[in-house]
């Protein structure tokens, strides 16, 4: 038997359903392609939150600002192709805030570490101690595993299925 694997994209996705005798806000049901489809480029919208930890969805289109976090982050490309550029931060440049990504004012002046080009299904380490920038010539989608931080955007009521009530 030949199997057909179904994978969503910005252009074509089918959202599932949630039918519960419960408050649907408890489940915060959303879809990363739907979220990215209505987001501004590089708006880091939370789609999952475990206390201080979040998963953000990012629409990657053009060149992003530079970001850095005081811990490792990870990105999974869900659609398109994204190039991640990395710059090494000096110790005194590493962000001192509690967690999550912070947007830098400009490209940091440290040495270039290199780049990673990733496509759908690839997971990329965004290492502590490095600043990073995402670029894509065409709209792409990434999920970022990180902490709730200065640039995390929360629009739960807009992105979640809340039923008819």
């Amino acid at each position: 038997m030949a199997y057909k694997t179904h994978i969503g994209s910005l252009e074509a996705y089918e959202k599932g359903t949630i039918e519960l005798n419960d408050d649907l806000r408890k489940y915060a049901f959303s879809n990363v392609f739907e979220v990215a489809g209505s987001a501004a480029p590089f708006e880091r919208r939370a789609v999952a939150q475990n206390l201080e930890y979040v998963a953000e969805v990012m629409r990657v289109e053009g060149d992003s600002p530079w970001y850095a976090a005081p811990h490792d982050e990870f990105a999974i490309v869900m659609d398109g192709e994204v190039t991640f550029n990395f710059v090494k931060l000096e110790d005194d440049q590493v962000p001192g805030h509690a967690g999550g990504a912070a947007q830098l004012g400009a490209q940091p002046n440290g040495p270039a570490m290199g780049r990673v080009t990733a496509r759908r299904g690839h997971q990329v380490l965004l290492p502590k101690g490095a600043a990073y920038q995402l670029t894509s010539a065409r709209p792409a989608v990434a999920i970022v595993q990180t902490m709730d931080g200065p640039v995390t955007v929360k629009r739960w009521s807009e992105i979640c299925t809340l039923g008819d009530a």
């Binding site: 969503g8 290492p127 490095a130």
Partner: protein, 329 residues
Amino acid sequence: MDIQSAKIVATGTDPDTGYDSFRLGGFAFRRDEYFAHIEWPKGSHIIEIDRFLRAMVRDIGWGFFYGWIFFDDIFGTTNHYGTVDVFAGAYDKGYKDQGLDHLETFPAETVKEAFETISRNWINEGYDPLNAPLETGSPLGPKTTERSDPLVRGFAAASRMLGLEGEPPVRSDATGHPINRAFADMEFDTPEIECEPGFEGQLHAINLFDHIARADVTWNPSFTAITGASICCVTSEEHMLPVIHGNDRNEWFIQLTDEIHWQIADKNTGAPRGMIVMKSGDVCAMPADIRHQGFAPKRAMLMVMENGTPGLETRYASGELKPYPVDFG
């Protein structure tokens, strides 16, 4: 909480089937050709043997996971991270109302040893409870030859990210993990990593979908990337989750490919709350006051986000933390 000091004890061998029977504290376990039978001082229960063994080996491999593992609506375990409750009917309204429920607490190592002993004796060569039903033999019938390979596999946990030096490797042909038949239609490539001189080894990326597509186990989330106490687990799911998971904290599902149907019920009573169908790209929380069971008509890729912060289970149980994750303001 009284912690039992009893260990697993073999109590005899069935002359017809050849399987051993066992006792752990007040629980007695025996199997026949089709079923596992569990007895305790006030009651008894029967579970289809395939379901029982699929649940038991996963409970071992998960280290009893986060919270409640229901083998079915009646029998299961609760993880207290050092000790484990073994219960029957303790979260079923009918058993509770009639006073037939039973619960005993053991050191986690005792339960692990007990479940390994039972599984070893009750699993024959040719049957692999970690595989999808279409990919393995039958557990039915009398005892033949015990399996000699490890009971559990596929649980290797990354501490930072899969594939980094010193971390578990990404699955590949070289590790003995071919692409599963259900993902044979996918194309897999490799991310390009270009390091400047002096930064070799400091940048890292993997094809996560390729790694999942090569899993030789189902319903078996393993750590791939860690941010603080936030754990990204990925798993391939086919047929049905052989347990019902009761959450002791919030967890999140991100559906990477295909679809999974989740039955949701009240954690304490088992009363149904409804159904969630997740399709590729969907994100959904599993609150801390539910139990859930998944059904995957076609092998699917799932990402699970867990919060491994120590002590969370008591903060949720005490009501300090709400049983759901998002404040809508």
